[in-house]
């Protein structure tokens, strides 16, 4: 579904990605992990074409994404910080995105799931962080695309919404979608992820299941396994 070969990216003098190779050819939940500034968001933004790589190729469903924009209709993206035009109402924003991208009826169900009805006629600038994140989730999931990318989806969510999000992710996974998630909440990752993609210093350090990670680091506990990688490499 997604194929990344030898991806390089520099921001000024800062070498963020140093030859990333990543292959995602089946559905499932992939957790992209790594310390702050390791290049998680840069990889995601490269797949979306928001960051232009210096070197390397990215293919989505076997089409090179360079100078292409239509492939993005197969990707749903949840950005890290939910920033929306503040003078727009929630309902107007949903309508606008539908107008730009195509019609869908999933939004009603999602609005129901996240209990957003009372906010539909409020301006986005007046919403709290958590509510904005829920709007963000509705916008992301309403198109039912085969690839879903979630950048820090849990930010600001209350416990009930978090449970609903997990349910939603599980349902989407059962449809055979490939779901990429970045998160710093290890318990969340452990609960939902099938595969871990660990990025360190701009390279893929580890790719495999949680069990494999535990064996590799000789730790019984997921959180410690991750910490183990970090201390080993930075000590």
């Amino acid at each position: 579904m997604v194929e990344i070969v030898d991806l390089h990216k520099k921001f000024g003098k800062n070498n963020v990605l140093n030859g990333v190779d990543l292959n995602i050819n089946e559905g499932g939940i992939f957790a992209v992990l790594g310390p702050n500034g390791s290049g998680k968001t840069t990889i995601i933004k490269s797949i979306l074409g928001m960051v232009i790589p210096d070197n390397g190729t990215i293919k989505v469903f076997n089409t090179n994404i360079k100078k292409n924009s239509n492939y993005r209709s197969k990707i749903d993206y949840l950005p890290q910080i939910a920033n929306f035009p503040s003078n727009l109402k929630v309902i107007e924003l949903i309508k606008m995105i539908k107008d730009l991208r195509g019609q869908t009826n999933n939004d009603q169900k999602l609005i129901e799931t996240f209990k957003l009805q009372p906010f539909l006629n409020k301006k986005l600038g007046t919403l709290s962080g958590g509510t904005k994140q829920k709007v963000n989730l509705v916008l992301t999931f309403m198109f039912d695309s085969p690839i879903v990318i979630l950048d820090e989806p849990t930010t600001g969510l209350d416990p009930i919404s978090l449970i609903r999000l997990k349910e939603l992710i599980t349902v989407e996974k059962k449809k055979g979608k490939a779901i990429l998630i970045t998160s710093h909440i290890m318990s969340f990752v452990e609960e939902v992820a099938d595969q871990i993609v660990f990025i360190l210093e701009g390279k893929i350090y580890f790719k495999g299941s949680i069990e494999e990670l535990k064996t590799k680091t000789e730790q019984n506990d997921f959180e410690h396994a991750i910490a183990n990688i970090l201390t080993k490499n930075h000590a």
Partner: protein
């Protein structure tokens, strides 16, 4: 692109600044036409205001809109839309809404004055055409500056400097060079110098259309010979079109390479 244009246009139409801009021209038009008996004088005063103010407003609105709609832009970038259509849509949205404020703001008092029956209709139309051109030119330049500068304050600074240079400093340098090299034949040089600055070009175009070139002396005669003919008019309009086209092309080029 048209969908983005539509959203940007309506977004700006809802902002109170468009109305302030519109109301300003409305007031200016009414005051100049109804409190002033001489129509051609009114057109000259309008010209002086338009030639300085339209570029300034175009610059500020262009930069402001770009930085303010950053979030919107990022939202759009993740959608299956071409980058060029996102940025061109936003640019044309800004330029069109500003042009609308200008045309309606000045047009309404002129229609009320009974302009359609007067001979000044051509001078006035030229004034509006030039105003629209300046809006398109300066908002495109502003978008260019904003695209090249991540830092808002820097972007604003460069944009204002650009306006200051083209509206004021350029004329000063131009005059000084004419004085320094006054022993040489300068007709062609000054013609080219005028073409290279859209504000000067617009001003000359209107002044010569108003037939007051006699005030300009010998150079005026040369200019009149050039700009007064339909050939000169076509060349000048062509130069203005180039002034729109080049920055717009750079918007497309630059936006394709930018990281977000």
């Amino acid at each position: 692109m048209l969908k983005i244009l539509k959203y940007s246009f309506f977004d700006l139409m809802r902002s109170s600044w468009s109305y302030v801009y519109f109301a300003f021209y409305l007031l200016l038009g009414i005051v100049l036409l109804f409190l002033n008996s001489d129509l051609s004088k009114a057109v000259i005063t309008l010209m002086n205001v338009i030639i300085v103010l339209v570029p300034l407003i175009g610059t500020i609105f262009g930069v402001m809109y770009y930085y303010n709609s950053k979030e919107f832009t990022e939202l759009l970038l993740a959608q299956p839309l071409k980058r060029s259509s996102i940025f061109l849509g936003q640019y044309f949205g800004v330029a069109l809404s500003l042009s609308m404020s200008l045309i309606l703001g000045l047009g309404i008092p002129f229609i009320a004055y009974g302009l359609f029956k007067s001979n000044a209709i051509w001078d006035f139309s030229l004034l509006l055409i030039v105003g629209v051109f300046l809006t398109f030119i300066f908002s495109a330049l502003a978008f260019n500056i904003a695209l090249s500068n991540e830092n808002k304050i820097k972007g604003f600074g460069y944009a204002i400097l650009m306006w200051l240079f083209l509206a004021i400093i350029y004329d000063g340098l131009f005059l000084m060079s004419l004085i320094i090299f006054e022993d040489y034949p300068l007709d062609k040089v000054s013609l080219i110098g005028t073409m290279l600055n859209p504000i000067d070009l617009s001003r000359t175009l209107i002044l010569l259309k108003l037939d007051i070139s006699a005030l300009l002396g010998y150079t005026g005669a040369v200019f009149k010979q050039f700009f007064g003919t339909s050939f000169g008019l076509i060349i000048s309009i062509f130069a203005l079109i180039i002034w729109v086209a080049l920055p717009v092309l750079r918007i497309i080029h630059k936006s394709k390479k930018k990281d977000f």
